[in-house]
Subunit: 243 residues, 2 copies
DNA sequence: TTAAAATGATAGCATTACTATCATTTTATT
DNA sequence: AATAAAATGATAGTAATGCTATCATTTTAA
């Protein structure tokens, strides 16, 4: 009844599609909960198998190892974010309004938490915040990139940078700004929760809202800048002078 | 002859100070080269011991494990950056000029590469770019924070945020901006080198310089913004409207 | 010269990260 | 309902990893 969303990710990330079987969904469901609880370092397939009462071998039939599983989860998350952006910005004529919605989704998406029954989006958001850097900051980036593992993340950034260019077609750093917004959305929430002295959020109030406000500030200050920045600035000064 | 810089880091990060013995320095020197080459995942103490012709047990006498060693190296790096900032900004009256120097150091520090003989600062910079997130994005952040492992990073960010406030005393997000500058300095270089479609640098020209220019743009656009941002913005709109 | 500190040499052990094989159960097809 | 195919279970095993412990030897400092 009603409609149903299927989120699909790069097939090379899994050996057998976990979304097509009961056990597969159980693997997704409980790996999210367990990684959220214990962190990817302490998590392993043996513990997961025990938790969901199956054999270790069965888990290995779905994923090569826990790193692929993590990559799968993170990729799934970005695809889910893209879906939400698509869904909530269609028919919006104003690109500025779009960007505001996107920022809100990046920060607060995890609050809306009942779309896919076997995925705890809040927990997954925490995983992405804490662990996602491990999926691409590695010596294997190049290989993983060739396999297309970052396709979903890239297309998200691409979507954001297109909107940035709608707002300000002369803006010089659309892609860098897009990536910066996405990463800052993660990092500032992480700081606010774990190392508050590195953030400016006051822990009393709503943390996510404050991060959102900071992102609005970054985005619109940079895009509204009167003087479009020149990429041809003299680089040889090495920061020693000030003009 | 001349003078000598000693960079000291939190004592809890090592079992025996590697800077005080010949073997210790060899451990630092070659671990930097090896982690740079193979990444922290493939690196281990057995390989390191083989490389420098000592026993595995000897390495374990200096560091509990490779994660502590990584944390030590990253911490050392931030302390080294702080020293350079101290050194190159003293007696500068203009805080804007200071911030420009800091940004240049964050991006290009590794080019000046002959200060401490057993540390390859270029390689260390690459390690910090690729691996540093693993030192704090972990379930153990809280514990590590209590041990003071992030003291050096925090004091760097503090130093930067103080200068930000000198430039614009009313600025609402001095710490978040400081952290953002530091992290963006790492991330954009990583992207430019590994996933260029996520950055706006043209690979032909000097990558570091372009990243520097981007950071100048962020810093001074945000700080020069006429309307100081209000932290009391209405958060309940959830990005759905645009006023 | 002698004690202390550092390192070497060797051994061992529990855990991890898989892989392989064959048996059993579940599911889909006709 | 019969049967093939797919999925999972059960079990076993192996190579590598990440240490720790012990005692001998060398180097360094007093």
């Amino acid at each position: 009844m009603g409609f149903c969303i299927q989120i699909t990710v790069n097939e090379k990330l899994y050996l057998k599609n976990p979304q097509e079987t009961k056990l597969g969904k159980k693997i997704i469901e409980h790996s999210i909960l367990m990684i959220d609880k214990m962190g990817i370092e302490c998590f392993n397939f043996k513990k997961l198998a025990e938790e969901i009462q199956c054999t270790e071998a069965s888990v290995y039939r779905y994923f090569e190892n826990k790193n692929y599983l993590l990559m799968y989860l993170v990729t799934w998350y970005w695809e889910w974010i893209k879906f939400q952006i698509e869904f909530r910005t269609t028919n919006m004529p104003d690109p500025r309004a779009k960007l505001r919605v996107i920022i809100a989704i990046l920060v607060e998406s995890s609050l809306a938490n009942e779309i896919i029954e076997y995925v705890d989006e809040s927990a997954l958001h925490r995983i992405v915040i804490t662990e996602s850097a491990k999926t691409y900051r590695t010596k294997k980036v190049q290989d993983h990139n060739e396999e297309g593992f970052y396709f979903h993340y890239k297309s998200l950034c691409r979507k954001i940078s297109d909107i940035i260019l709608e707002i300000n077609p002369k803006y010089c750093y659309p892609r860098a700004l897009a990536g910066n917004l996405v990463e800052t959305a993660l990092l500032q929430v992480f700081y606010a929760r774990n190392l508050p002295s590195l953030s400016d959020v006051s822990s009393g109030k709503d943390v996510l809202c404050q991060v959102k406000t900071f992102l609005y500030h970054i985005a619109f200050s940079l895009l509204d800048e009167k003087a479009v920045f020149q990429n041809t600035v003299n680089c040889s000064t090495n920061g020693r002078n000030n003009k």
